[in-house]
């Protein structure tokens, strides 16, 4: 019996969200008294044996370069074959865009109950019950998986990475050739930006900034903090900022350690996307802005005066 953690990589690094999933999987495997195995698909120069530092003893690597990793069917086939080979009854994903395509597919193939958006380890004293976000972050649900096989897709930034020492054995995994009916024509990647979904700090701004030309100070603050930038829906709808920066109910839901909201009033739909952030800072000139009720720290003031002073204060700190 074992547990497999689907481990994603990008630019020859294991993703931070996958390290969270590995830490979660190792903790769960410990509770279940079974072995935790990381499964890596596709060629990568990331040092896979170092995943031992996160508690896995084995890394199974399907490194066939012919695998089209954006085809959910191919990925589901590889994961289910690896699960058969290693008698895995539990599969852990980080709830990334890739997982959203693959985990449900695998759930059907393995007849394994699926919980997506998990925020905590399963409660094993209450059958096998996993807490997950529902109502776009406005509540949690405790969902019991009834089937013997189980799949959990863990929310990003919901579980702390646990690192110690150790080396993992890397085991190559070959699969039969998998054909794909998806013809990829073009891939556009935005290089160099900090991924908003994975970021542990986010600086976000709204209509209070009056126009796209005023984003310089937001970007400067974000760069100084090592944060990703985000925006509210009206800002994305007005094309002041790209749509992938939109956080909120109909945009991206994020859970960074620090969320700084500048000139965002905090409509319920926006709060839904950010209220799992650990520390929320609100800067708004309207003392009645509903966002202050959801904030940990706040400044009632004009962003055009406050933000440059914050930038100055951080620069002083860094000296």
């Amino acid at each position: 019996m074992s547990l497999i953690i689907f481990t994603e990589h990008s630019e020859d690094k294991i993703k931070k969200s996958s390290l969270e999933a590995i830490s979660y999987g190792v903790a769960l495997a410990g509770k279940l008294n079974i072995e935790a195995i990381a499964l890596v698909v596709g060629p990568t120069a990331a040092p896979l044996s170092e995943l031992g530092e996160y508690g896995v003893k084995k890394v199974v690597h399907a490194n066939d370069s012919a695998i089209i990793t954006s085809d959910t069917k191919s990925l589901a086939t590889i994961i289910s074959q690896a699960a058969d080979t290693h008698q895995a009854d539990v599969i852990i994903f980080s709830n990334t865009l890739t997982a959203k395509g693959v985990a449900p597919r695998l759930s059907v193939r393995m007849k394994a109950g699926l919980v997506t958006g998990a925020v905590a380890l399963p409660d094993l004293t209450n059958e096998f019950t996993v807490r997950k976000t529902v109502f776009s972050g406005k509540a949690f649900a405790d969902v019991t998986i009834l089937s013997p096989k189980k799949i959990i897709s863990l929310n990003l930034n919901a579980f702390e990475i646990i690192k110690s020492t150790g080396t993992a054995e890397v085991i190559p995994f070959t699969t039969a050739t998998i054909s794909s009916s998806i013809k990829i024509k073009k891939v556009n990647r935005m290089a160099g930006e900090i991924s908003l979904a994975e970021a542990d700090k986010v600086v976000s701004a709204g209509r209070g900034l009056k126009g796209p030309e005023n984003w310089g100070m937001v970007e400067e603050l974000a760069t100084l903090l090592g944060a990703a930038t985000a925006c509210s829906r009206p800002v994305a709808d007005s094309n002041w900022r790209p749509h992938h920066e939109h956080v909120g109910q109909t945009g991206l839901a994020i859970a960074p350690d620090l969320y700084i909201a500048i000139g965002i009033s905090g409509a319920i739909q926006h709060l839904a996307g950010v209220n799992r952030s650990k520390t929320i800072v609100v800067i708004n000139k309207d003392p009645e802005a509903p966002f202050f009720k959801a904030a940990d720290y706040g400044i009632i003031g004009d962003a055009f005066e406050v933000v440059p002073k914050m930038i100055e204060a951080i620069k002083q700190l860094k000296k």
Partner: protein, 247 residues
């Protein structure tokens, strides 16, 4: 060309989220119900836009739920669906729901099945991929653009850190998100026509439930905001560093 659009009923985005019966049920009192925004604005409206370019396209709708879901089905028909199916069952476990949709889809023989990227209540993001697996079809998640040619779909979708353009032969399943189409409201003619469009009620097929929801929990309330004077933002920076320990 036949398109099946999966429609779910959800509470309005501004609905108060509360629970009853010892936190086991969503408190529906005073709640306005809408078509799940992703299903409506992106999946359904894009299907309608495609039909406007090619009138031979048929748009069918499928919903899993009791009679209480019929107003939103009628609204979807008013927007431009041709006919609808309601599978008369409680929508709970994603595998059960996907099994019902797959059964309807198999009977209808669709070229294209569209879903929203997720529902705003369950946030499962699971149904499209499950239906694809049950029907052994390709699945494209989180599409932001969709065009069709006689034998294939041209799709742009969001991937980690960017986007990808692909061609896929029919039949296939696509989950839709922002970028696909512009929201619209039904006109009077559509509303009148929707009253007489076919809405067939089907009994559910037997399918397993792999999960069950035991209880709901509301997040703990914030203890209150600590305000820093606008003249001294450096104090905020100091608090973030020394008290919150986040920078």
């Amino acid at each position: 060309m036949k398109i099946l659009v999966c429609i779910s009923r959800t509470p309005d985005t501004t609905a108060k989220i509360a629970f009853t019966d010892n936190n086991t049920k969503f408190a529906t009192e005073g709640v306005q119900w809408i078509i799940n925004p992703y299903d409506e604005w992106y999946a359904l409206v894009r299907a309608i836009e495609l039909k406007e370019k090619d009138a031979s396209i048929g748009i069918h709708l499928v919903t899993i739920g009791g009679a209480e879901t019929e107003p939103i089905i009628r609204k979807a028909l008013a927007l431009g669906g041709d006919e609808a199916f309601r599978v008369n069952a409680i929508e709970e476990d994603p595998y059960f729901i996907a099994s019902q949709i797959a059964f309807v889809a198999k009977e209808g023989g669709y070229d294209l099945i569209l879903t929203g990227k997720e529902t705003i209540d369950h946030n499962g993001s699971s149904i499209g991929a499950m239906v694809a697996e049950l029907l052994d079809m390709p699945f494209i998640s989180l599409a932001t653009k969709l065009d069709i040619e006689p034998t294939q779909a041209l799709v742009t979708r969001e991937i980690e850190g960017g986007e990808e353009e692909a061609e896929i032969s029919f039949p296939l399943v696509i989950s839709c998100q922002k970028g696909m189409a512009e929201a619209r409201i039904p006109n009077m003619r559509g509303i009148m026509a929707a009253r007489t469009k076919p809405l067939a009620v089907k009994d559910p097929q037997s399918a397993e439930k792999l999960t069950t929801t035991k209880a709901f929990v509301l997040p703990p309330a914030k203890s209150g905001v600590k305000l820093v004077p606008a003249e001294t933002p450096e104090i905020l920076i100091q608090l973030l560093r020394e008290e919150a320990k986040v920078i």
